[in-house]
Structures are given as C-alpha cells and as structure tokens.
Symmetry: D2
Subunit: 267 residues, 4 copies
C-alpha cells in the first residue's frame, strides 16, 4: 500500500466538520468593514442557447474581514511597521494593497488543529462578554482535555460566541470575550502556528491598541482566524483533528474569507 | 500511534502544489462575468490607536466564475430544469441566487486527484484551440500515465492553456481546447466525481448548447472546476495526489472562487 | 432686474418632474449588466462620538446601464470603431474603460426637451412589444402635439413601457417597442441632440446589430437615455419643457446613471 | 415669447461651470468609506453582433460619500435621533438603508448659488488647515463680494482645499479648514437652504462630535455637499449663479454622488 493509498484510507474514515459560516446578504460585519453583497447577474431562461440550455451567473462583494476569515500578517501595524519590521508606507497602496505581508503570502493550512473549549471548562454556555482568557485558563483547558500543545498547532479558542450569529447587534457588540495579551504570548510560546476563535476579534474587546493582534500578527507572525463555527466540534467533544483552511490568494489582501474544515479520524 | 498521528506523519512528508491563480485587478474574466475589483479601504497610519497601532482593511468584488473556481450544479439548466429535475424558476431569485443546487450545497472536496496531461501524451506544449478530447485520448492518457480510474476521483485535464494566463485576449479567446461530450460521459462512466481543467470552459469551445456542462452539471451532478494552474504538477510528473478544494459557502451561488491544492506524498 | 434674477423668477414658477427611477436592490437590469447592490456599512449607534453623535455610511455597486441612465458615445462600436472613427482597441482597457468617447466627455444636458407621447397618438396605454416607430409616426405625433422640432432638442419617446417597472420579467422581456433605424435618422435629421425613451433599449427589440444604437451613438454622436419615467409628464400633457440631466463624470465609463428632470414653466 | 422660450434665451447666454470631480479608481476617500472601484465588464470586440457591431459595458462600486457628493439628512444622528426627532433604530436596516431621511427624499436642487471665496478675502491661496470660519468671516466675505444672503440660497464655501486633490494624503489629512458651529448657525439664520464646500468635511476638522453636521443635518435639515471643485468659479469671480445638483435617488442612501453645476448668466 502506497503512502497515498494509506492517506486515503485514513481520510475515508474521517468525519468532516465545516467551520465556516454561510455567506449571504445581511450577515454581521464590523462597522469598519464592507458588507457582503450578492446578486444573480443573469437568471436561467433570460438567455437561452441551443436545445433549451441556459446558465445563471452572479457576483458578490465583501470586505476581507467579513464572515469566517483569516487576517494576513499585514492587517495590523505598530509604529508604522508590519511584521518583520517592514515599513507599511513602503509597501501599501490603495489599488495594490500590501505588497508584503499580504494574504497572498499565506500558505494553505493543513496540520493538527486543537479545540480549546472554554465554556466546557467553566461550565457555561457562552463566556461573559468581559471574560479574558490568560495563561491559567489555557493551561487548565489543555489539562482538562488531556491535550498537549505541539509545535505547529492551529489552536482554536471556543467562547460560545457563535451562538449569537447571525444576530448583528449581539454578535458585533462592542464587547466580546477572548484572549488577553498574556494568553497570546503563552500560545505562541507553546508552539501555536495559527490561532482562531468564534468571535469577531479573537482577543478580548475592548482592548485599547489591539494588543493581541500586535502580539500575534506583528511580533510573532501568527495569523489569526475569526468567526469560526466551533459548535459542532464542541458538541462532539473533538479536541484534536486535521485542520484545513485555504485562504484565497487575494494579492495584497489584508485578509481573506475562508471555509475551514476539521477532520476527525476517531481513535 | 493513533490514526490522526499517522495522518500527520503522511502529510508531513507530502509536497503541496498550489493550483489557484492569484486574484488581482486585471486578471482575465469572461465577458458575461463581473470582473475582479480590489482596493484598500483604509491604509496603515490613517487611523492610529494607542501605542502607534494601526490597521488596514480592504474589499473585493467579483463574479463567481472569475479566476480559479468551481461551478455549482445549478450554474446550467436545460429545458428550464437544474440537476435533479428541479425547476429553475421555482428556486432562483436575483437577491437569493439558487435556493437549490447552489454552491453552498457543495461539500469540501478531499480525495484522490488525477492529472491527465494531454500535451505530454501528444508531445506538444499547448493543445491546439480546436482540439477536442474524447474517450480515445482519455484511455490513452490513463494508459500512458499508468493510472487506473477509480470511483470518486477528481479528474483534472491539462491542456497547457494556463500558459496564456494572464493574457486576457489569448486566454479568453472565443476558442479553447477541451473535453467533448463523449469524453465527458466517459469520465462520468469511469468514476469521476469532480472534474476540472486549466481553461475557462473545461469543454471544447465553441460548443453550441454547452453539451459538456449539461452532461456533467445537469445530467450527472458532477461539479466542474476551471482555470486551475496545472503546470507545476505536470512539470514534476505528479499524476495522482491528494486533492483538496473548499468552495466558499456562498448561499445561492452559481459558483465560487477556490484555491485548490494537490498534495503529493511520493512513493 | 438682472438676467439671473429673471432666470430665478421664471424657474420659481416652474414645476419639476422627476424622470429617474428609484435605485434599490432588485430593480430590473439586463442580463449583460451588473445589478444594483446596496448596503449600509455602518448603522447609527455602532460608533458613537461625543454628545451621543453617530453617523451611518453605505455603499452601492452597479452597472452603468442599470436604472435610468445615459449611454456614452463609446458604448457601441461598428467594425471596431467608435464615433469619430476612433479605433476601440486603441482606447479601451479593463481598468480604465474608454479613454475616448467615455461618459466623462458628456456635458451636463440643459435645454429644451420634447415628449413624444406615442400611446396617446395611438389611443392605447402601452405600445405593443413589436411596435416600431418610424418617420411617419414621428411626424404625426409632432403634428398632433403641435410641436415643431428644433435643433438641439432632447427628444423623449414615450411607449408606456415604464408601466411594467419594476417587474423584471415584463420590463426586461426580450422584446420591447421603440424607434426603428429610419426613425432614428429622422430624429437626427430634425435636430435632435439627445434622445431617450422609457424602455431599456430605446430602439425596437429584437434588432439584429443594434441599428439604432449604431445610427445614434456611432454615426451621429447622439447620446441615448433609457428607462426614463415619462408617465407623469404624459399624464399632465407636458410636451415641451426645460430638460436637465447631469451624467456622473465616470472616467472611461460606457454610461452613467442619471436622474433627469423636466421643468414645465406653464404658458 | 413664452416663459419657456425666455428661459432658453437666458440659459443659452449662460456659462456652465462643472463643480464635480472626475470619478476614477484611486481618487481620495475617507477611511470610513468604501473606495471607488471601476472596470469594464466587456470590451468592444469580445462579443460581435451582425455587421461587426459590438458593445462595451462596465460597473462601478463606491461609498456614497466618495468624490463630490451630498449628505442626506439621515447621515448623522444625535442621541439616537435623525432630523425631525425620528428614531434611527426604527428606520435603519443594513439592506434597506434609511427608510426616512435617506437621500431619496432630497429633491433636485435648482436655485441661486452663492460662492463665498475665503482665500480671496484673506489674500491667500488655501486656508490653513486649522482655520475656522465663523460669523465674522462670513459677514466680511458677503460684504466684500457685494452679495446679500437670500432665503433658499445654496451657499458654497471655498477654502482652496481642492488644490490638494487628488493627493490622498494631503486632501484627507486628519485636519481641514471649514465652518465652525457658530458659522453654521449664522448660515442657517441667514437663509441658507443647502450648503457645501471644497473639503471632505465642510466643517473644520478635527471637531469632536461633528457639531456642524449636527447643526445642519440634524437640527436644521440643511443638506451638506462636500468636495466641490470651486476653483474655476473663483478664478472668474463668479459669486452668484444658478446652481443645479441632482442627487441619485438611492433609496435609503446616507448620501449620493453628485456632479453639481453652476450657470453664470453674466450681467
């Protein structure tokens, strides 16, 4: 049996969890982002070819941080600099976006994913809006879930916030639970290569100066994913899995919509 | 060693091929589709938070059949009906798209991919624009490549046409090489679950009444992917691989941009 | 009394007729054009400034031939050439549009407008979809309305078709009444400087090769306006008026949305 | 001679000034607004009809406060209320915009316009970025220009700022000269029905809590126009004129692009 055959054998036994929210007009978006717009251009039957054949086409428009998405490293800057001490002004333009640290530089993500289910740890449905997750809680949840952090992990923090989706007002309140800056550094120190959560901000909001974004994107070069639907994984108690997310190669993009998946292979 | 560990071990030895074209303003698009538009909304430095922190945001707009993409089953109709004899008029609306057979119904694609390298079979760089691929050529290329078709395969047809990208006039000429309807049925009869190619149409164009789209989308329920960059796979002689493509969950969409990847595991 | 005072005195006695259709999601658009999309970006209350002050912002996206609009001379070509024998290929680009004959070259339109009410002439509500308007009908309607054509006129042809608005299927049927090519030349020969109507095509459709568009835009340099709401003017029997339409200065545009007005001054 | 003939005679002697900036990709926009995007959809020659006839089409996307535009009364709220004590939450929705106080409620503007040329008064080219215009300066400039304010006037304040256009950084600096709140009330008390200027904000920026927007839009119901090109009018010393601006009927819109014109009739 070849490696490839073995791979297919293992994958065929896996269960796929879809972590992306549906994209449709009216889904929540932050006030600094451009909403998701959609329409058919052409309906079936408007232009008819031979044998009664017809086709429908459509278009959409959206900010790159709307719905389930990944932040490019260049989404945030500090002191005028992007990750790697790249001067933002030297690489940014309206028409071209970010020539460096854009989302086009991100590789497809395929590797071990870990779900950290904070509400389960704390015995609640949804974390309070002002709940900050630091090193203590992270250590506890790893322990409780019998998972050991490994280098290269994609670490997904569940707060339960996705239960507010798609209620715009509740989901995009000006507050949400999330990682605080000490927690961000703990994750980075414990091998996290990508991080994500089910809120719109990953970090606890309000947070003056976006300290977790700075720690992850600017200082450590760790991309952040937001608005992942982690409810089904949590329900089934799946804490480690194959995680796959493939950002669109939006040249210069500060982010990209993604539809991440988790594949659970069982014991 | 758990199944998941084994999976990671196999994947860690794999090489990832990126089959998606970069998305940027000016890439080719068909005259019936809406072009790709992009701009930063906000540059770094325009709005500055505490500690000199700033963020950049952007938006894009595009037709769902622009760049590397997948056709939803409902993209094409015949006699007013979509796949499964669903009446198009009963499920289509401008604002909502296709309530049935939309791209939101497509699962993430993870399984065996097969590259059929027609130019290598024929000893040329790019197929002639009027070259039609039928059952004979398909049988020969499978034989030449020592690959046996399997049920569930994603079959990718290389014509070499991607070498015209991003020259709009040459890529979107009104002609391109591709599968003819007998070839489409041969693929379906030999287990293909998804198909794709490196042209904008998959099928040979011109083709009055889009017979291959009808055969695949409407009759057989086989989604079609277009504008895949298959050059690197061909260069390296990779004919079977793990294929992954995750359509965005565009509710009602007649298609979706994708960034497919191939993972070659070696012998 | 200065000229300006006299002008204000005359205008203050005028009645303004609004000839533009409202722009909102779902309004009819042709299958080759990009639909009108709209959304708030930010609602009141999402971002609050000092003293409880807040602001709302929004965006829209549309093809330039959606809703009430004007065709730039460069919208149509014949034999590869735009009006004035300008070679289209030499002046067109995807990102820049039409460097020559674009809608940015059109001046604001301010001058005498004439309504030609064909349904009134013919004693019907709406012209039949296959009704073609030629020189005979034009002469009759001018006579019936006691209007004499003058050089520089904006001539608006009412067919009654706007009564189908906003029913997409009925308005954008593949047929509509309108001017035939002999009528187009008659209008040009009788001084028309701008023309318009209440259908999506101005000319009778189907019309292989768009002969009226060619006659007006390419040969004569007469811009065409489409989808004007002429119902109120007709109801009030206003056949001559001050016509004002100001195309947006969309650089390179093949057209522009407009909101034309007619000012009737009374006897 | 009829009223209409007299109107045409007067207008035919007028000179038209175009006060709108050209719309093209890359023009300045504020960081809270969606940029102007444009592309051809279809070039001439891609689809060819009978007799070598072809057509080109295009689309654009933009925030309603980009380029020369008018603010709807509902653009700004105070204490949750729009002009007329309408509760914002009761009338706003993402997909529909503002059901009340939207730009669709604005009538075409046709009436006397007055240019107040502040740089001429002060003997400079461009006002300093921190120059605030209050009642004293307004009285002086009216006096200097021998113009008397009249009820219903459209009052356009020239600061010279348009000379920074289209330099994004200089035009959209975080500071600009403009009216202060006492000046706003003076204008309203002296009959202004519409106001405008050549900056992006009309009012002096920074201005915590947008006091001039609140005074004009919320309290007095006076729409504000921004980014008008007043250079040619100033150069020719035209201080009173027929002003025409026709907002697009964007249903629910918080604003609309406009291309205003001034018609100077001479003495």
């Amino acid at each position: 049996m070849t490696s490839l055959d073995e791979l297919f054998r293992l994958l065929s036994r896996g269960q796929v969890y879809d972590l992306g929210v549906p994209l449709k007009a009216g889904i929540p978006h932050g006030p600094a982002h451009s909403p998701y717009l959609y329409s058919l251009i052409k309906k079936h039957g408007q232009v008819v070819y031979r044998d009664g054949v017809s086709s429908a086409t459509d278009l959409f428009s959206m900010g790159t941080h709307v719905g389930t998405h990944i932040d490019a490293l260049g989404h945030v800057s500090k002191g005028g600099c992007l990750h790697g001490q790249i001067e933002a002004d030297a690489v940014q333009s309206f028409s071209g976006g970010l020539a460096r640290c854009g989302v086009h530089e991100l590789s497809p993500i395929i590797g071990r994913g870990v779900l950290l289910d904070l509400p389960r740890l704390l015995g609640c449905d949804i974390l309070d809006a002002d709940y900050g997750i630091g090193p203590d809680q992270l250590e506890q949840v790893y322990l409780k879930q019998s998972v050991v952090p490994l280098p290269g992990d994609t670490v997904l923090i569940r707060t339960g916030w996705m239960q507010h989706w798609p209620d715009h007002e509740r989901f995009h309140a000006n507050r949400c639970p999330g990682i605080v800056v000490e927690g961000a550094h703990w994750l980075g120190d414990n091998g996290a290569r990508y991080v994500g959560s089910d809120t719109y901000a990953f970090e606890k909001v309000p947070a003056s100066g976006l300290p977790v974004h700075v720690a992850m994107l600017v200082e450590r070069g760790i991309p952040i994913m937001e608005m992942l639907d982690l409810e089904a994984l949590a329900r089934d108690g799946i804490y480690t899995f194959l995680f796959v997310a493939i950002p669109l190669k939006i040249v210069g993009g500060t982010g990209s919509p993604i539809r991440p998946i988790a594949i659970a292979t069982g014991p």
